[in-house]
Symmetry: C2
Subunit: 391 residues, 2 copies
Amino acid sequence: MEGVAIIGAGQTKYGDYPNKGVKELFAEAYFEMLQSVDQGLEPQQIQAAYIGCLSAGSGFQLGQLAPLLMGHVGLPSVNAVRIENACGSGGYSLHTAACAVASGKYDLVIAAGVEKMRDVSSSKGRYWLGVSGDTEYERLAGSTFAGIYALMAARYMHDFGMQREHLSMVAVKNHRNAVANPKAQFRKEITMEQALKGVPVAHPFNVWDCSPTTDGAAVVLLCNAKLAKSFTDKPVYLRGFGAASDYLAIHDRNSITSLAATQKAAAEAYKQAGVGPRDIDFAEVHDCFTIAEIMAYGDLGFCKVGQGHKLLEEGYTRPDGKLPVNASGGLKAKGHPIGATGCGMAVEIFKQLRDEAKEPSRQIKNARFALSHNVGGSGGTAAVFVYQRGD
Amino acid sequence: MEGVAIIGAGQTKYGDYPNKGVKELFAEAYFEMLQSVDQGLEPQQIQAAYIGCLSAGSGFQLGQLAPLLMGHVGLPSVNAVRIENACGSGGYSLHTAACAVASGKYDLVIAAGVEKMRDVSSSKGRYWLGVSGDTEYERLAGSTFAGIYALMAARYMHDFGMQREHLSMVAVKNHRNAVANPKAQFRKEITMEQALKGVPVAHPFNVWDCSPTTDGAAVVLLCNAKLAKSFTDKPVYLRGFGAASDYLAIHDRNSITSLAATQKAAAEAYKQAGVGPRDIDFAEVHDCFTIAEIMAYGDLGFCKVGQGHKLLEEGYTRPDGKLPVNASGGLKAKGHPIGATGCGMAVEIFKQLRDEAKEPSRQIKNARFALSHNVGGSGGTAAVFVYQRGD
């Protein structure tokens, strides 16, 4: 199994782009990635591209989005394929690309994601926001993405004594983190009072518990680890990559206060990397709703399952804490352009581990290992990655 | 790079299933695959599943189709992900799965595809049949899948002296081949006279030049080649797997009488396998329209580009010819359930190379190497595979 390194990364600012299509967003992220390769790169050296997108079927390009995008940036003949696992599509494009490099078949491969949620969020919004789960048993019965996570939050409160305030702590922390991130959609602090009193969405959630509707793209360039140093003195190694699934319909699961897919994917990534949760210096986790970040703490081994809210009380996951989580602002405030999200996490980690977080106030210091965690829907799938600083 | 073998394969009969959904079709193919593993298999040994589907976004399951299907057959926790490249989705699921096994990360991986074209072919039919190409420059301008291939056929006739009759030779051959295939959608011979006088579709095509609307599923089980003999005495080795793209819009291409994506994918597969076109004993190629098979002959190196129609005159690709092509009946008569098609070719080849084609009349004798060729849309993507008999 060949080693895998990341040698370039780029992304659009996440946000609302009424006048740009997926081609423009992808190109912007792609060319930023190209520019980030320290020793330069002939684009023709790129051999394959795995591109995550959920909503491509819904009107703007029905099939073959991946070669369309690669043709648009001048690489029409590479092996290009679309990868889809709902909100986990970006993480799965990264996982699939990592396997391709690990095989030795390809040396230079793109993992990317793109989404224009604006284009599927008007009358079709309700339709798409049901993608979290099982169409037959959840969506057609009226469940929404927010509603399903709200059930998880309510149960977590019941089982583990979590309070409403703990959910808001996630929102307040992540919004504060996004202020210094030039790529974030919402660079705006919110107070605890605001976070507690937002417009109700699905009990116990209000609007501040929910990630926004976001357009954006993210691209990372993977390389056979043996060749990484010929492109940069500061590669970031992808030491572990795990992916696992669960039943889509939450009535089929053993528990709704933790995600079995995350637990299995994390165990696999840690094992491959030869490290454990205690070795992780910072993490980007999937906080599509505030409860999701709290569950992730336990499922990723940062604390015991059911004790996630306690970490927030201690400030453990704040930028000045022992293990900063979502220093980027997370899905909550950096934004959540579905197919791009999992790759955008890798872009953030690439920059942080190279001391290139731009705004000095948000640079995480002396980090060696980082983790990213991307979830599909309500936990039907999860991909977890362990990264190591390479300089 | 680890070697890759196929140790099991199953598929539904291709056809029209008004009373079955994607779950039922997938399960039928999956359990046939399980039963085909000679020494048996504990399903829990399966670690990952790459599942091709185009139309999943269009109503029945919006996201995460792959874990939904794997949960349905009792394997909810495997790494499962949807792969999409239009009509090439099945070939790309096979290619992606092959990379995953070649990496050494997984030993037992499913490559599969499923499609219910019936569910997207009523009022939405026109919408989906535009997936062949570029939405902005082709579909929204009124181009259909048939129309684009018809342009290619007309140009091929102009440039190379091909006659209308040559197109019909493909239809007659493939319909005749399907008669003995219990998995085929149309097990019905047609005469040359019929083939020439079908209902017009897009000049020079009539209805007999076009593949049908098909429901179906196909599943193959890939295994690290080192372990293959513990599951069967007759593995089929996947010696080469290539994939490449081209501009989606045909106005951007250098030629419309050959597919550059096929040529590049084939070169890669032959190189990896260490064989050439002359070593191939039979092939399953992508005949979504009759011209597509004729172009494939040249692009795959079975003859010079532009001479494909001559092979038909010689009977070279008939079952009794030097290189039988689409002995299954091909997309034309076996059927074309989009996401399943590329995997269904692998199912056919697996059976043929194990002398298990069931109907003795259709068993290809003494074959050692075979090839499959799956195209996305009008040649925006192509995946090519070289298989070797393993007993």
